[in-house]
Subunit: 432 residues, 2 copies
């Protein structure tokens, strides 16, 4: 497919390149050309090759930019949305989440992931870093619908195994362009030392980064200190888990020593502000991470805790909560946050060809409708997006060169209603 997106404002998210007017051309799954209006004019003068366009879209002066990268989620937890809110965290996990998760089949997870994919598309999310029980059925849901997904294992003492993780790692990294796989485990507090040691060996074998939930709550840090005499990041690093990089989800309660580990190992903080807010876990010191040059990406966390999969909410919270924590309205600025939600997310997920809009990158592109009241006037587009943007501004989501969502309509091979219905049946069976 040759697709031409013209009459657009463009924010490529390349360093120091502000918004400009121009066009983006797509050939199959990749970006073939990104050019500003002047460059185009001069090219047309030359003997520019004639292209037979399969589709030409007038962007009507709206904005094209890279899609958002949701760098931490548990997609299939859609079934628990609004089921167990407003209860204390431990009670939430032990009485609500865990007993129901035991009843889930791989097929359930397939359908529940599909519901999440619809929601990602409405929010301009073009890639997700998904940790859940049956990576194979998560991958199937994403591939069928056209969603880009980096799988990671939620390995722990009760589910999955080192052998399974190795098998999945090898199988899902065989160049499917939409799916890849990174080593991961659920958390320090759900894994034995033996299991962590074996995962570290696997990481060394493949020189692969490792990802995990890390220092989400004070209690978790306290208990790790009691058990190992170290904070989680320091302890896990001492086990050799981070020698090839990786990252931590949440990272609300990192100590200076933990941050040293992050800096030394070039680990990514993947911050989840809505989840940390709603579950009362605390505010991550994102401004401090930035001062210490620790890279930061953003994730929604799963819909059981957040409860929505909306990168606009997350971006406002990353900026706002940092300002609040530092007591300084001049804290993190909007463009930094937008960078975390796109470029840094791609890097954290090892999606190096999905970071910016440029020739040769995968065509993971969204269009932001600026002709809506919350985007007017247009003083500063990154600020408009971060501080007043909403999923209602997403008028197109393209992944791998394919338009999956446009003007409120999905193009994912089946109707949204059929997915709602199927998920409704699953919920009925699980919860009644």
């Amino acid at each position: 497919m040759n697709i031409r997106l013209y009459n657009a404002r463009i924010l490529t998210m390349e360093k120091d390149r502000p918004v400009f007017w121009g066009e983006v051309w797509i050939k199959n799954e990749k970006i073939a050309y990104v050019a500003d209006t002047e460059e185009l004019a001069s090219e047309w003068d030359k003997d520019f090759p004639k292209i037979n366009w399969d589709l030409e879209i007038d962007c009507k002066e709206n904005l094209l930019m890279p899609g958002f990268k949701d760098a931490h989620t548990h997609s299939a937890m859609t079934f628990l949305r609004s089921y167990a809110d407003d209860v204390p965290l431990q009670k939430w996990l032990n009485e609500k989440v865990f007993p129901l998760e035991k009843k889930l089949t791989g097929e359930d997870i397939y359908h529940l992931t599909r519901l999440a994919v619809l929601e990602y598309l409405t929010s301009g999310i073009t890639a997700v870093f998904d940790m859940y029980l049956t990576p194979d059925t998560v991958a199937r849901a994403c591939m069928e619908m056209g969603m880009r997904c980096v799988l990671t294992s939620g390995l722990n003492n009760f589910t999955s195994s080192i052998e399974q993780v190795e098998e999945e790692y090898l199988r899902w990294n065989q160049k499917q362009s939409l799916i890849s796989y990174q080593l991961g485990f659920h958390a320090e507090y759900t894994c034995s030392k033996e299991l962590l040691y074996r995962l570290a060996q696997l990481s060394h074998k493949y020189r692969a980064p490792v990802y995990t939930h890390l220092s989400e709550t004070e209690r978790e840090v306290e208990e790790c200190r009691n058990q190992y005499g170290m904070t989680p990041a320091v302890f896990l690093d001492s086990m050799g888990l981070f020698e090839f990089g990786g990252g931590g989800y949440h990272c609300v309660h990192l100590t200076d020593s933990d941050m040293d580990v992050f800096r030394r190992r070039r680990l990514y903080v993947i911050t989840n502000p809505a989840s940390n807010t709603k579950l009362a876990s605390g505010i991550a010191p994102v401004s401090e991470f930035i001062r210490k040059k620790i890279p930061v990406a953003i994730g929604t966390d799963g819909p059981a805790s957040n409860n929505c999969l909306d990168m606009f909410r997350e971006m406002f919270l990353v900026a706002g909560l940092s300002k609040l924590k530092e007591g300084d309205a001049a804290g993190i600025d909007a463009l930094q946050v937008l960078n975390m939600a796109t470029v840094q997310g791609a890097k954290a997920m090892h999606l190096s060809k999905c970071d910016v809009l440029a020739k040769g990158r995968y065509a993971d592109i969204i269009m932001i409708d600026l002709n809506q009241p919350n985007m007017q006037p247009i003083h500063d587009i990154p600020r408009n997006i971060v501080y007043s943007g909403s999923k209602s501004n997403v008028c197109m989501t393209m992944i791998n060169g394919k338009i999956l969502y446009r003007n409120g309509e999905f193009n994912v091979g089946c109707s949204a209603e059929s997915i709602y219905e199927k998920c409704g049946e699953i919920v009925e069976r699980l919860i009644g």
Copy 2:
């Protein structure tokens, strides 16, 4: 106009009445009938009067509920959206906001308010409590577009006067059904004692409540203590300003004595969490207000500080930030927040006939699209709205019996584009 809204889920927001299936009938500007399916069936059996419907809308199992009440805003500040973010609060006010406001004409404020009204409608906001420079042109914008608006004066040492406030108070309370007026002043720190004394006299003359910005920042509280030896609420009460009720905007830094004043005078806290977050002012102790039985309503604040006029963002933040402040995920629950955003807002604004869906109330009704991925599955509708809702779920906004917004289209007497264009011209003239 006789309008019938059928095949709906209904949340009237009456106390202890959960969501039910039914219909809402509207006759001119008021609700004529709200009934559940069973009641309707039995009514049809009787000799039910035939009605000639002007419009019948199949709600397709979506939710009807009262519109949101934005209990504190400065609508016309749309011109500053994304113009002055990421700078410290005092610099923001003194170098960015005040100099530009000096250049504003009443006509500018008319057009800039119209832009805000479009945005309110997209977020299901059916009434606003607006404090800005020229209440007359704010009222004109709202009346022409069909927006319900409670005006209040931003009286201070530099703009407006007691005489003007009294004249406006009398003129705008002459039973225009869309517009009313409450006494107000900008803040303790922008008004002389003499001016406050005269406003208190006015309040006593008309037995009228008084509203003001209150304890938004620590610095404001500190400076009031230095000048008067009292915190703002205690000082203002000692001046006799709150003998007939009213309320405070923001209320981030209330002391126990301040809360005593609020309880004794039955004042409303009107909380503005997004603004307080983004300007790093702090987190209001909303859970404590509730424990002390101080009524709480919600406002967006103006688009210069927030930067958007979105009640969904505010509702998530009211719940989330309270949980965060208390360190307790079981803090405020979703239904309480929804009550603040509707019923309590109406009470705070003295819109007693706009609080719930019931016979005889004004038809200020919104429809929430439940057939979107972020609203699925439907375990608990109030939680879905507060925790995963978005303005993209608002598929109809009706005020005073008139549908002003439906499925993304405005019905406000002119095109959205003409408003964007006019506001663009104003911004160009003011800022260049």
